[in-house]
């Protein structure tokens, strides 16, 4: 099965404004605008894009994960704007390695859904971050590792992309980053496409084609 779908997650929304800057910048609004450009760039690379939210609503962490978990051949990308960090830099985050519970039924607990996908998430994260580092000076060369709640319950290669920051002097400084971020993510995911394989779940018998 190939990689065809990208589930794009503009973080926060509704009453959860996310990070807030002194210039009235709200993370929940900015990520939605970034998502529009990222979606367009991904579609340009031939991906189908599903957003966890289209407007100013705030689905739960589990509802957002469920959008990705219901797909076959998908990756999950959560978009964030930081409060901190050198303005104009971008970082990609992936979950730390965790042991996968071995269940004889082959089912994986919801709260460990990301565990089998962590190696793939690291590869996807590194590829996206490499593209971001080319476009945004001062950004790290590789993906960072952090235990992020949104990623933990996602059964797909999953990354969070965080842009610095809401503390920019002018909102335009952030807006100018959007095309570069969109282009980097689209190229990173396209580069990852040949690496995509569905991991064999613990306890699941290997099924081979006759």
């Amino acid at each position: 099965m190939g990689l065809n779908i990208v589930v794009l997650d503009p973080a926060h929304g509704g009453t959860d404004l996310g990070a807030r800057g002194t210039e009235g910048i709200r993370e929940s609004e900015v990520v939605l605008q970034f998502a529009t450009q990222v979606k367009r760039a991904l579609e340009g690379q031939g991906f189908q894009v599903i957003q966890t939210r289209e407007g100013n609503e705030n689905p739960s962490f589990d509802d957002r994960s469920a959008r990705a978990n219901a797909q076959r051949g998908a990756v999950f990308i959560s978009l964030h704007i930081a409060s901190t960090g050198l303005p104009g830099t971008v970082r990609t985050y992936v979950e730390p390695d965790t042991a996968v519970s071995r269940d004889p039924t082959g089912l994986i607990p919801w709260d460990q859904a990301q565990a089998p996908f962590v190696p793939l998430s690291h590869r996807l994260g590194d590829m996206v971050q490499a593209e971001l580092a080319k476009r945004f000076k001062g950004s790290p060369d590789v993906a960072q590792v952090a235990p992020i709640r949104q990623l933990r319950t996602t059964a797909a290669p999953a990354i969070a992309v965080e842009i610095s920051s809401v503390s920019v002097e002018n909102r335009e400084d952030l807006d100018r980053m959007a095309p570069g971020v969109a282009d980097a993510i689209a190229h990173g995911v396209a580069a990852f496409r040949p690496s995509y394989v569905v991991p064999v779940m613990p306890g699941t018998p290997l099924v081979t084609q006759p």
Binding site: G18, H80, T84, G85, P96, D141, V145, A146, S165, S167
Partner: protein, 229 residues
């Protein structure tokens, strides 16, 4: 009713109305005062009940390493050596260390935790898991973001690792409760590794822990932004 009684009644009513008008502002002040008292949160009450942080003046002063933000190298933590009278008891020592971390460095720009956050309780389970219960302000005052939240947790785990070897893992509670995230991003449902050099929150692959800029500026900006709304 004869006119005389009507007059008396009208006069009495007028006096009552004037008296009520005079008394009303004082009554309103009392109501507001009572309301404020009842709105005092359980956390505030708990903080007041907590004994002051023990000062072990009798304990020898030892060199402790506190992990605060680096101003020179944006986005990293650096160990700062300070001399403190530290208890030999692991639980007391962890409290003293974390209270010092919360008090912050001399340079407020290097602060990693919100200045209004407080440690409500700390205890160590027999398996070496430390449980740190922080006030609501740790979650509500920290600038929201993966980077800033990771910095906060990393500064706590690294500082404990450097000074309280008995603490091998750490659970973080907010106001006595397990919470999903610190401020919307970092997963607090898990136990953080302390003794294995951040196994729970591994450093960057390059070997350089890229965490975040010091959060003081972001904290101040967030406070200003919140006030405007």
């Amino acid at each position: 009713m004869n006119p005389k009684w009507r007059l008396w009644l009208a006069g009495g009513l007028a006096v009552a109305v004037i008296g009520a008008a005079l008394y009303f502002p004082a009554l309103r002040r009392q109501v507001y005062k009572a309301k404020n008292l009842t709105e005092q949160t359980a956390e505030q009450a708990r903080r007041e009940l907590l004994p002051p942080a023990p000062v072990n003046s009798g304990e020898p002063r030892v060199k402790a390493q506190m992990y605060w933000g680096s101003r020179a190298n944006d986005g990293t933590l650096v160990p700062v050596t300070v001399e403190l009278p530290l208890s030999s008891d692991a639980t007391l020592r962890a409290k003293e260390i974390l209270n010092t971390l919360l008090a912050g460095p001399v340079d407020p720009e290097a602060r990693t935790l919100p200045p209004d956050a407080a440690l409500l309780a700390f205890y160590i389970l027999p398996d070496g898991t430390g449980v740190a219960d922080f006030s609501e302000a740790l979650a509500s005052s920290i600038p929201s973001g993966i980077q800033s939240e990771q910095l906060a947790v990393d500064s706590i785990t690294r500082t404990l690792e450097a000074n309280v070897p008995q603490v091998q893992r750490l659970r973080i509670l907010i106001h006595g409760q397990e919470v999903d995230t610190l401020a919307g991003h970092l997963d607090l449902t898990q136990t953080f590794q302390v003794s294995m050099s951040n196994a729970g929150t591994p450093p960057a692959k390059s070997g350089v822990s890229v965490l975040t800029a010091p959060i003081q500026k972001a904290y101040e900006k967030m406070k200003r932004a919140t006030k405007r709304q």
